[in-house]
């Protein structure tokens, strides 16, 4: 990968967090907490990892980034994750992902890349801060 891509920001991606997305996510990760499953409740909350999973919406931008030159024909594994939740996301939130490359390192046989993302709500407030490191090769 090209280290000059460190600091690069990707186009912001915005999506509405729907009840359907939350209910399906809770079902697939088998999290029975009523806060994540009761669609009749005043607020339907997103399981804590959901927002992180949807940062994968940025992946097509990253894979297509010729400057970064990331080889996804190799093994790509997630090695480290930090999430700071400022508040739980809820159905109806309109969330914007602001992602950037925080670091790239060569470790001989493999490389690592670290992404940082802020997830911002419809009022411009931070919902989650995420930092994800992947090992490639």
């Amino acid at each position: 990968m090209n280290k000059s891509a460190i600091g690069k920001e990707y186009p912001h991606v915005t999506y509405e967090l729907t009840k359907k997305m939350i209910l399906k996510y809770s079902e697939v990760v088998e999290d029975p907490n009523p806060y994540f499953n009761d669609e009749e409740a005043e607020a339907l909350y997103a399981p804590h990892t959901l927002i992180g999973a949807y940062t994968l919406l940025l992946v097509p931008h990253i894979v297509a980034d010729e400057e970064l030159d990331m080889d996804v024909s190799k093994s790509v594994i997630h090695t480290h994750q930090i999430y700071e939740w400022k508040r739980p996301a809820r159905a109806g939130d309109v969330l914007t992902i602001r992602g950037r490359i925080a670091d790239i390192q060569s470790k001989g046989e493999y490389e690592t890349i670290t992404f940082e993302g802020d997830i911002i709500d419809q009022d411009g407030e931070q919902v989650v801060v995420a930092r994800s490191t992947l090992k490639i090769g």
Partner: protein
């Protein structure tokens, strides 16, 4: 159990899940995963794995499920910092575990730092060296 009962060394009730191939495939489909390691057994073998394996964030939810079950409300789970260990394959049973390392009362809020990890049926860690932060209010009770 009340707030005053929470102290260093207390173990969080663990959470276990049987990971199915179907759920791994559904997880990738939900977010439009790009990574064939989670979808295509042949590709996964070619790059050095036994077969497809679960997305890290998918089984990380077992850890956050444990934290949220203990904390009682999604708002009380504030942070996690964790490493991924060996891959989680279809039919693995993953158990999330945690132990309280530190508590700090600040006004009406009890700040809790937990060590968290998860392991498969062989006791091998699939997440490790996790630190999680919870904030519990004075109304916290656990049955």
């Amino acid at each position: 159990m009340q707030l005053s009962d929470i102290e260093k060394g207390l173990e969080l009730p663990p959470v276990s899940h049987l990971v199915t191939k179907r759920n791994i495939l559904r997880y990738g489909g939900m977010v439009g995963a790009f990574n064939p390691e989670h979808e295509d057994d042949d590709f996964a073998e070619d790059v050095g794995f036994d077969e497809i394996f679960a997305h890290g964030i998918m089984h990380l939810n077992y850890v956050t499920q444990m934290l949220c079950d203990f904390a009682g409300h999604p708002e009380r789970v504030k942070k996690i910092d964790i490493e991924f260990g060996i891959p989680v394959y279809p039919d693995d049973v993953v158990t999330a575990r945690g132990i309280i390392k530190e508590t700090r009362q600040e006004g009406k809020i009890l700040h809790i730092t937990c060590e968290v990890w998860s392991e498969n049926q062989d006791g091998d860690r699939v997440t490790d060296n996790g630190i999680a932060e919870l904030e519990l209010g004075e109304d916290w009770v656990k049955s």
